[in-house]
């Protein structure tokens, strides 16, 4: 189903795009020939183990590493204090109004703030020996009162984690759109409910890991790392390690003509391309930070000058990565410690996080409290919404992106696909003695959960069905063009209403009601839940500036497409694939655009020496819209150049020439053509050689998606079947109707949707990063953190609409939505089944039977 009236009929529909072609990646991944970071074992590599705090909150009174240093196979033990001499603290990255971001080092020296806080690193000849020595590090702790919950953190008497924060509330800011007070006063009813989402964790099957190789001759670092963003890691390591005196750094910068020139050229280019974004930066955020802690200015100064004074930045390389779901985007403290340790030893060092470490501080998410008030008229018309959001960011803020930016994403997306006159959200971020809160697949997703939950609450209060109230308030084709109350414009790609209508067609409600009655007779309860959302993938051009002015400049993405002298095509991307099948999908896009076979195209990623710069890496459902857009744009230009070159050889007008299967010929006369390889060889022989990669044909371009619109939308409907004897929940049916525009690779899209839904099922029924009242982690192994298996995840039906957008490249992102929609649909279905209000996202069997009134809450 496509929106009518678009001039650009899918020109590539007959090509590779749109087909589930064989995955390029599978040749190695299904034969054991993939290379993940843990698989690299260079000769003489040393192994690191972090000594971690067993206490959630304590002062370090002494640390004795003498015995560890004497242990067999130990090469070095570096304490927090020693690490602080070698590295800069992590600085504030995005200074938002009302936010204080504490500064912290790679290892803790004076104080520990969570169970698992690293206080020293042991480097030894094997992981076994390093663990032996880590056991011998003797740390004396003086326990401090712990902060284990949002409620405790809000208390003015809670022990502050960060001395300069003035309490444990790290951010407090309210955004208002429209005259909320007046609309609330005028509405027929106001309905309020609080929703709490417990802590979850991303849990990719491959943990984090890094191998820092040191070139013995030059000291150059090559970092193999399971990172979602190789360039970000490169710059972070360059910025935070190799600490030198400011005067030394400045002198080195001033005396290095080449570096000086490169710096000023780069700065000029940056300011030139981001003039508008830079203008939009306001000072409220930095001023808020300054008020609490002036030290960041000095540190940032030293970091900046240190970067200027460096002749050599590390190379980051990543090949195969075993999933991330957001957890491998942030730069980890361990990444910095490892690079500093390897530099100081002049030897290669490897750290592969173990699962317990990963569960302690490899990334946690979603712990949020959301109080939602909806002002609604008696006929079910939504008028305004007010939200009080509190995020528990744990002990150390995610770097560079954590809870504060996520409050801004939630702010923009909270109103969803519905019409509102006004909206207000108060966003607070608190610190507790728990693991790092970081982005997890659809980091803003709890806006969808709380909103869609709340809409069912409102429907219930008004005697409407969940479908009725949604259809009544949802923005439809008649409303276009319009915009969200929070700013972003809405075009026809926001087809949420069509997905809901389609989903309702796919459900036989009469049959469901009959099944429901039959189930009730045998001690079971059936329920049906609906959730609808749209997500910015990539969103309209102004989307990021609605999140926070100035962040829009992070959107553009560069790609390079080259044709080598042998006719092979290389596509260089800053994307960092870790399961999303870029090597296949980008090859489909490039091959179609160029007219070559998919086997002729190779995607190059992960190597910062070769790939274009970009901090975004892979994340944010950008791979389809922005990344593939850059691939398509550059490939199109390469094709133009190939045809132009061939025109002379063919004695024909470029307008008459086409490229099919690598053969360049006048349309309809394939027999009298030349091959791409012949054209490339001739160009190479004529001396053509690109600046970036030395290829005879080479195009580099930045694509920003501006004007291409791009909402990715879906409706999830699920039926749950609850056994009142056991509290176990099963899914007789789970269906998703999604619209991510034209699909590059249907099997990849279905896989992304299903994987996201599986994580949503995990979130509601199985997974919880449990801490006790003293902030001790209770789920530190896979016996206790329950990733669901093939027996818990049902068959998931995925249906597609493929609404075209008016833009040039209308692939839209699909990586996150499954996870965004699922918790809402499931909790709505459970409330429907039990007839009891569901206000938490985590519903293990005990909670189910408590809600059902079968057992008494304990």
């Amino acid at each position: 189903m496509t929106a009518p009236g678009h001039p650009q009929a899918r020109e590539n529909r007959s090509g590779l795009v749109g087909q589930s072609v064989r995955r390029v990646e599978d040749d190695r991944l299904l034969t054991g020939a993939g290379v993940f970071v843990a698989d690299r074992n260079p000769d003489g590599v040393l192994h690191a183990v972090f000594v971690r705090s067993p206490l959630a909150h304590a002062r370090i009174t002494s640390i004795d590493v003498a015995a560890a240093r004497r242990a067999p196979g130990v090469v070095a033990v570096i304490t927090g204090a020693e690490m602080a001499e070698m590295t800069h603290p992590f600085p504030p990255f995005l200074m938002l109004p009302g936010l204080y971001t504490p500064l912290f080092h790679a290892l803790s020296a004076d104080k520990v703030r969570l169970v698992g806080d690293p206080v020293a690193v042991v480097i030894a000849e094997s992981r076994y020996l390093a663990e032996d020595a880590a056991d011998l590090v003797d740390v004396d702790y003086e326990p401090l009162p712990t902060v284990a919950s949002i409620a405790e953190a809000l208390s003015p008497t809670s022990e502050p984690l960060w001395a300069k924060a003035g309490g444990n509330v790290m951010m407090d800011h309210t955004d208002t759109f429209g005259d909320v007070d007046a609309v609330f006063a005028a509405a027929d009813r106001v309905i309020t409910e609080r929703f709490d989402c417990p802590r979850q964790s991303n849990q990719p099957m491959e943990t984090r890991g890094s191998l820092v190789e040191v070139d013995a001759a030059t000291g150059h670092l090559t970092i193999h790392n399971a990172t979602q963003s190789s360039h970000l890691l490169r710059w972070a390591v360059a910025a935070l390690t190799g600490k030198q005196r400011t005067t030394t750094a400045l002198k080195r910068f001033i005396t290095n003509k080449q570096r000086r020139r490169a710096f000023f050229a780069g700065a000029k280019q940056f300011v030139g391309t981001n003039r508008d974004g830079l203008k939009e930066q306001d000072n409220a955020g930095p001023l808020a930070q300054l008020k609490k802690d002036r030290s960041f200015l000095g540190h940032m100064n030293k970091i900046a000058v240190g970067l200027l004074g460096k002749d050599d930045y590390p190379t980051v390389k990543a090949q195969d990565i075993g999933g991330g779901f957001g957890s491998k985007g942030p730069v980890a403290r361990e990444d910095i410690a490892l690079a500093a340790a390897a530099t100081s030893l002049g030897r290669s060092v490897k750290w592969i996080e173990d699962r317990t470490e990963n569960l302690m501080d490899g990334g946690q998410a979603r712990e949020e409290s959301l109080t939602v008030s909806i002002a609604v008229d008696s006929d079910g018309t939504f008028r305004a919404m007010r939200v009080d959001l509190i995020i528990d960011q744990g002990a150390y803020p995610g770097f560079p992106i954590g809870a504060p930016l996520i409050t801004k994403m939630m702010k923009v997306m909270f109103p969803g696909a519905y019409r509102w006159d006004a909206f207000e959200i108060r966003s607070r971020v608190v610190a507790t003695n728990k693991g790092r809160y970081i982005p997890y697949r659809g980091p803003w997703a709890n806006e969808t959960w709380a909103r869609e939950r709340m809409i069912d609450v409102v429907a219930d209060a008004l005697g409407m069905t969940p479908a009725e109230i949604r259809l009544h308030n949802m923005i439809g084709a008649d409303d276009l063009p319009t915009s969200m109350v929070t700013g972003p414009s809405i075009d026809e790609t926001m087809s949420t209403k069509q997905t809901l209508e389609r989903a309702l067609e796919l459900i036989d409600m009469d049959q469901f009601e009959r099944d429901r009655v039959a189930a009730a007779a045998s001690g079971r309860r059936l329920g049906l839940g609906i959730a609808c959302y749209h997500e910015a993938a990539p969103g309209p051009p102004e989307f990021w500036d609605c999140i926070h002015p100035g962040t829009g400049m992070l959107t553009p993405e560069e790609a390079h497409t080259t044709v080598e002298a042998d006719g092979s095509v290389l596509v260089y991307t800053q994307q960092m694939p870790h399961g999303q099948s870029h090597e296949t999908t980008y090859a489909q896009v490039a091959a179609d655009e160029l007219g070559v076979r998919i086997d002729d195209v190779t995607i190059v990623s992960g190597d910062t020496d070769r790939t274009p710069f970009g901090f975004a890496g892979t994340g944010g459902s950008r791979g389809g819209p922005i990344g593939a857009g850059a691939v398509r744009t550059t490939a199109r230009e390469v094709r133009r150049q190939l045809i132009e070159s061939a025109a002379g050889m063919l004695e024909a007008s470029p307008d008459d020439i086409e490229i099919v299967d690598g053969n360049i010929h006048v349309a309809g006369v394939p027999a009298r053509g030349v091959t791409v390889a012949e054209v490339a060889r001739r160009a190479a022989d004529d001396g053509a050689s690109g600046d970036l990669h030395g290829a005879p044909f080479e195009v580099a371009d930045v694509y920003n998606g501006a004007g291409d619109g791009g909402w990715s939308v879906a409706t999830h409907v699920c039926i749950v079947d609850i056994d009142l004897g056991t509290g176990l929940v099963t899914f007789p049916r789970y269906l998703v109707v999604e619209d991510c525009g034209p699909i590059i690779h249907p099997a990849v899209v279905d896989g992304q949707v299903r994987g996201g839904v599986a994580q949503g099922i995990g979130a509601v029924l199985y997974e919880r990063t449990t801490y006790d009242e003293d902030a001790n982690l209770q789920a530190a192994t896979y016996m206790d953190y329950l990733v669901p298996t093939a027996m818990e995840i049902p068959e998931i039906e995925v249906h597609h609409l493929e609404t075209l957008s008016p833009g040039e490249n209308d692939f839209r992102g699909v990586g996150e939505g499954g996870m965004v929609g699922a918790p809402a649909a499931i909790t709505n279905a459970i409330e429907h089944a039990l007839g009891a209000r569901v206000t938490t996202q985590y519903l293990p069997p005990t909670k189910i039977l408590e809600l059902a009134g079968v057992i008494v809450p304990g």
Binding site: D135, G725, D784, P788, P844, P845, T846, G858
Partner: protein, 291 residues
């Protein structure tokens, strides 16, 4: 997550193994399948100085049926072996019934039945099967052989009657009565996990009258546990839904299971009752009960 160093012993004979245990006592651990011991060591929650790998000792890996139908299982018999054994299915069917609940295929192919019993995890299936079927447990040490009654074997959380110098070498399950029926039922958070609560039931039934009953629960206390009052309520009663409900009520009233992060005490107590009905119904399904 790597084990701490230890001295590794791989004796070829049982006597050698027992001598090693006699020498090293509490500092030694017996390694058979290793499916419980190795993860504890990897997490460094267990740090034995000596590991005595009994995997090469001949004669411990057999399932033998005695003249009167009793079944003896040796220390190296793997879970998977009992799952596929026709002898077990015929003569000790409750073990076969329990097996699909035990972890996963790749664990069952290494883990040993006796290892699971000796480990004594209160949420595992085999200790409850032992309590329900009342086999004789045979422990050997360098000072001799000891026969331990099932009822005397489980002492507390991961604590059994076995001494540090002993190996549980055989467990002899009594002959399965022609009138006996049984079932193992459980609820776990995920398929293959340790149970939140489970039950192993063995009844003998004459016509539709229950003549004996053994109900053993796992995940419901610090060890697997029987509920004698509920069993007594069953004996002499007819197979019926009312009978099972009455037993279930006693079970829920008498058990006081511990809470943990996966389920509350109230949930477990309720579930023990539900599983009582479901287990008894499953056990008697072929008797034509209306339960």
């Amino acid at each position: 997550m790597k084990p701490a160093p230890f001295t590794y012993h791989r004796p070829e004979t049982l006597d050698d193994a027992l001598d090693l245990l006699a020498t090293h006592g509490d500092d030694a651990k017996v390694l058979a399948g290793g499916q419980s011991l190795i993860p504890l060591m990897a997490l460094r929650m267990g740090r034995p100085g000596h590991v005595v790998d009994i995997g090469r000792i001949a004669g411990l890996d057999s399932i033998t049926v005695g003249a009167d139908g009793d079944v003896t299982i040796g220390a190296l018999v793997r879970h998977e072996q009992t799952r596929t054994s026709t002898d077990v299915a015929t003569h000790a069917p409750l073990i076969a019934t329990a097996m699909p609940w035990v972890a996963h295929r790749a664990i069952r192919s290494r883990g040993t039945v006796l290892g699971s019993i000796a480990h004594g995890d209160p949420a595992a299936e085999m200790p409850a099967v032992v309590l329900a079927t009342e086999p004789t447990l045979i422990a050997r040490s360098s000072s001799g052989v000891r026969e331990i009654a099932a009822a005397d074997f489980f002492h507390g959380y991961l604590d059994t009657a076995l001494r540090a110098d002993e190996i549980l070498t055989e467990v002899r399950f009594p002959a399965w009565s022609p009138n006996a029926v049984g079932a193992v039922v459980e609820v776990a958070r995920r398929h293959g996990d340790y149970a939140l609560v489970g039950m192993a039931a063995m009844l003998t039934v004459d016509g539709d009258t229950i003549s004996s009953a053994a109900l053993a629960y796992f995940g419901a206390a610090s060890t697997a546990i029987r509920v004698p009052d509920a069993e007594q309520a069953l004996v002499g009663a007819t197979v019926s839904a009312d009978t099972f409900d009455a037993a279930a009520a006693i079970v829920s009233a008498e058990l006081s299971p511990p809470p943990d992060i996966h389920a509350s005490a109230a949930y477990r107590r309720h579930l023990a009752g539900v599983l009582t009905v479901r287990g008894l119904s499953a056990a008697t399904a072929e008797i034509g009960a209306d339960a």
